[in-house]
Symmetry: C2
Subunit: 338 residues, 2 copies
């Protein structure tokens, strides 16, 4: 059997009360006693049983995150970095991170949220890949459960979030293409229900407008945030009677597929065809050619989210509820090839 607070108390000839308080750093225990307790506890390898503590304190000391994995081969580097950030910041607050995975908008997703929340497995949730109307936001708001989000949905409720202004920065990206003299700029996006899609598409349109370029629906197509999706979307675009001379992609993975399609169509990326991505994943400075992108500090964003969530759970009033993160335009050879 495992070692409990009782064992420690017995060994020291103290009550469990005193041991508990000594370990939790209460002030009403003699300093000398505290030292003895701490020392003995360490020696005996005592660690409080979390279940018991949680039951008593009515806190799980955990936060939850559900990966929006919509396919088995879910190998988007964004999420490795994101989860690492969540984990690190959670640990810094003495919180554990519970991770599950479910296809967005699935039954499984819904059950996962309900289970964690109703059974008090977690004290708060982190969301990302928000939908324009997001049932999770509505549900969590309704039941008054703490959560934070990366990106913001269009639901009419207020909640803490961290955000990159996708509309503004996608415009910056497309401006960059337009300013290089390109007039047929295509866009490869994602599912219309996604907030990032709405934002980035709007940014694309903003840029067209500010450069007096016509909006041509033929040049706007949908991928699925994978390189495969980008690959096939780009093949369709490049097979057009009047193909684009530049392609702005909703994310880096999509852009990777585009680079491949371009090569298959004999285009020299950076010269015949410009390609740009969005996210700034580590590694994509080594694509062929290196990818121009909007570089977001994903790890930092994840940490910030947990920081805000931890504060919210602790009942603190958040000074900044809507944090804006400024990414940077990373210009590489896929748009300025030599």
């Amino acid at each position: 059997m495992n070692i409990t607070i009782r064992d420690v108390a017995k060994k020291l000839n103290l009550s469990i009360t005193t041991v508990s308080r000594a370990l939790d750093g209460y002030s009403d225990v003699a300093e000398e006693t505290r030292q003895r307790v701490i020392e003995t506890a360490r020696q005996m390898g005592y660690a409080p049983n979390q279940a018991a503590r949680q039951l008593r304190r009515k806190r799980a000391d955990s936060i939850g995150y559900i990966l929006p994995a919509d396919r088995p081969r879910f190998s988007d580097p964004f999420f490795a970095e994101f989860v690492a950030g969540l984990g690190d910041e959670a640990a810094a607050h003495g919180l554990d991170l519970l991770v599950s995975s479910a296809p967005p908008n699935s039954q499984a997703e819904q059950r996962a949220y309900e289970r964690w929340i109703q059974s008090r497995k977690v004290d708060g949730m982190v969301l990302n890949r928000l939908h324009l109307q997001d049932w999770r936001v509505q549900y969590l708001s309704e039941v008054g459960f703490p959560f934070v989000t990366l990106e913001r949905s269009q639901d009419a409720c207020d909640y803490p979030s961290v955000e990159v202004d996708g509309r503004r920065w996608f415009k910056v990206l497309v401006d960059h293409l337009a300013e290089l003299g390109h007039r047929r700029v295509a866009y490869i996006g994602a599912g219309a229900e996604l907030k990032i899609q709405a934002d980035r598409l709007a940014g694309y349109q903003d840029s067209l407008q500010s450069h007096d370029l016509p909006y041509d629906a033929v040049l706007v197509t949908e991928g699925d945030l994978t390189s495969d999706g980008g690959f096939y979307a780009a093949k369709r675009l490049l097979a057009l009677p009047q193909p684009p001379t530049a392609i702005a992609c909703v994310d880096d993975m999509t852009a990777l597929g585009v680079l491949h399609a371009a090569r298959e169509h004999g285009r020299v990326v950076g010269k015949d065809l410009l390609v740009a991505g969005f996210d700034g994943m580590a590694g994509f400075e080594h694509t062929q050619p290196p990818l121009t992108t909007i570089n977001q500090p994903v790890y930092q964003m994840a940490r910030k989210l947990v920081q805000m969530l931890a504060a919210q759970i602790a009942g603190q009033v958040l000074v900044e509820r809507h944090v804006q993160i400024e990414p940077v335009l990373e210009i590489r050879q896929s748009t300025v090839g030599k």
Copy 2:
């Protein structure tokens, strides 16, 4: 306050015992009663408090995994897929997945393991990126805590694992290069303490030997499992007086950097210089040129691991303790460019 089993019992004029047993599917409760209980519980949105249940049952119904994140920008797609697999299979067994992140062999890593185990936050652990001598394996074996591993360390204890025979399959990869007539084949590896490095390097050497190629220490270099590492390692190799004509990389990320370095050195990959990776990450079929690699079913491997761990936790005897996974050699243009 939240809804407990007592509330449900009161509403039904039953004892909490009956409610508990009805919900847990015991046979000694009238079918009609059970239905009423289930229905009412559902209506009231009752879910057992996990902390209480865990305390009572002495099980956490959770398993743990610690990401070997050795840098903030930890965006290795391998781990997104791996974690998704762990999460999915865990859910299928009614287990939750606890994730943290710590640099391998760090104090933080050690504390994370000890904390989870001593405080009974988890019932079992999943390990990967094993070291040749792995303190985690030794520690967990010693305290008799359930765990499973991807890859096997050289520690003298027996434990369940899932494994791809890295030595054999790296030989297959290098054989492929050698059989294309290349005699100066370089190897870019990882830290010498890693099991995958030992295996894959051995496979490289096996292949050299079987093709009567000399082992040239100059052609064997160390990366760090990132594309940056691969990039710089390749630059060093290509700057040699007698540079290699083919490079086998310990993983796909490394290979991505190599493709970039090759281009900078004016090499045409697939003709002047062959490049091969290992892992078969989704997306890498779209590199420039598409990357030859050993394709491992990472998602399936993760699921298998959890399956074995769940069985172990449930006290079942594992029929197969050492599962071998067969990957496939994926030949693409980085070695057979046209």
